[in-house]
């Protein structure tokens, strides 16, 4: 057994060393390339992957290598089930797995994790996507509203009873707000346009008044006072995770 199985050493970003069989390690195209073109005896550094993640990844590779080689008696459905359980991890771990699978070029793992993320986000709203993946919204208010209006049908989603929750943002997230003629700020939130106080008054306030534009013009306007973090010197952006009544 010793002479037939070659081992490869991998060192992670947190200085953990893993020794794995070559067949398992070369599931990663990156490691395979490095191994075949470099010094086989040295340790391969995988700087961008931590020990925990690499350990999980090696489990995955081992399972798939063994199943393909017939070393493990596992049917395709059972392997599929095993994969489904493998990705039942918390969001951060899943994202780390995606980045590691991409960096190490393990195609099947990348497909599996990306499919998992796709299933996770397919029902989400754009605001949730921005928060989850830390994406900056570079739209102006009018531009975003124009795209939203053009594709109104895509925003027709299931909702709950109307509640309004402010999702807090990172301190340095700024975006432009546009004032209309009455010097009020309009922010687009979900399917509603939320009217806010004028910019000049915002700088001094600890809280702002948020008005919800009613869909039925005869219903009275609803005023909610909400706490707000860190008003900048002029421009703020607030996300409203707003669920509207169907």
């Amino acid at each position: 057994m010793g002479s037939t199985s070659t081992k490869i050493k991998l060192r992670t970003s947190d200085q953990k060393v893993f020794e794995v069989e070559k067949a398992v390690a070369v599931q990663s195209q990156t490691i395979k390339y490095i191994y075949e073109n470099g010094c086989p005896d040295s340790v391969i550094h995988v700087h961008s992957v931590s020990g925990d993640i690499l350990s999980k990844i090696l489990d995955y590779c081992k399972k798939h290598v063994n199943s393909a080689a017939g070393k493990e008696d596992i049917s395709p459905e059972e392997l599929y089930e095993w994969d489904a359980n493998f990705v039942k991890v918390d969001q951060n771990t899943l994202f780390d797995l995606i980045l590691a699978a991409n960096c190490l070029k393990i195609e099947s793992l990348l497909d599996l994790t990306c499919q998992t993320v796709a299933n996770m986000i397919k029902g989400k709203r754009p605001e949730e996507i921005r928060t989850t993946f830390n994406i900056k919204n570079d739209y102006t208010i009018e531009a975003e509203e124009a795209v939203r209006r053009e594709n109104k049908w895509a925003f027709d989603m299931l909702g709950g009873v109307g509640t309004m929750v402010i999702e807090e943002l990172a301190d340095d997230t700024m975006s432009k707000c546009v004032t209309n003629t009455k010097s009020r700020v309009c922010v687009i939130a979900a399917n509603q346009i939320v009217m806010m106080r004028s910019i000049s008054k915002l700088a001094n306030k600890k809280s702002i008044d948020v008005y919800k534009q009613p869909q039925n013009p005869t219903t009275p306007r609803i005023k909610e006072s909400v706490k707000q973090r860190n008003v900048g010197t002029g421009f703020i952006e607030l996300f409203f995770h707003f669920k509207c009544k169907m």
Binding site: I34, C39, I98, A118, P126, N137
Partner: protein, 409 residues
Amino acid sequence: MADFEGNNRETLEDDFCLLEDSDLEGDVDERFYELPILSPKAKAKIPVDYNKALKYVDRKEAGLEDVLRDHALHLLPAKTLFRFKTVSRRWDHWISSPLFAHRQTTYFKNVSGLFCQVADHSPSFISFNQDAYGMPDPSLSFFPEPVKVRSSCNGLVCCQGIEDDTYYICSPVTKEWKKLPRPNLYHGAKAAVVLAFEPYVLNFNESYELVCAVTFPDYPVVYFEIYSSRSSSWRVSDTICYELDGSGLHDGGYYMKGVVYWESSSGVILAFGLRDEQYGFLPLPANDEEYGNGALAMKHGELCYIQPRYQDNVCTINIHGNMDMSLKSVINLPYDAGSTFGVCRALGFINGDILILGLGTRVVSYHVKEQKVELISQHEGGACTRYIPYVNSLVSLRHPLIRDKGLIV
């Protein structure tokens, strides 16, 4: 070529490494069409300084957003993608690209819902997930005349005009539609029609075929007339089936892996291979009382037949498979479905695990593993309602490279 950038990037990375621009802000991002920038440093050093090379690979480490763009975005359905156009301008740019639409059509193949139509009324769409699957106009009112939905495949839908039996092909998401020329044979309103559309990664010109099993009132023959989008014309196949009385062909066939299947009331499934244009028969497990309630579907890449059986007020679902359509598994519905709702119809099988059933006026999904029943919709109609499974892809009827860039390919 810019259109191969996605594939090119991966192969180039094997030999070189990419230096990505750190400045990602600013105007509409053209990176999707740019050629990757190669680093001359990495080129020279492998294999001696392989550690240095690996360091370069790490440093170029793609951010999560970029990995998602390249590997996850095209796995999402159309409604979700249109909504995500407002995530950021870059996302809007990626999603609106015609090449992305082609990619999504190739990868996203999940059955997203059912087009539902009672007699000649307007069609409607029953979505399996209202947040993720949808279209701008589910009643397909963008057609110039009222239509009957006949068949759908990977996002393309074939409809037939109610007045004059004209065939149309459309993409419900983009609202593009195309009127087909008249066929050579007379099809009438009852021809068994199946749309066959198989998108391939490198085949940018989406080509599809409309396969019609045409029958004649007094002759026991079946002709096959095929419309090909490549030639934009109809052609009657040389293959003629004399063994079957075509009048019993069930409306609503099934297409899978190059073969078109129709159920026949004479107890067989007629299979027609598109490549060699040969036909064959498979046994149909349904008997007379149950005819019309079963459905062909795909389970783990293989053809199967779902037959609901209703005995002693209990409904069980038989799954048949293999070349002889033998019984492979039986699913017991957890509650008394039949008597309460009248008729139990199989409508589809998703991901090998979720059964879609029509129970009376309701459409329910049954998760086999979790043994969970979910109500999807309740509406008018019943045994006469036609259900056509639909995939929410971004498929476009226009050539992706011609539309905006003015190229002729």
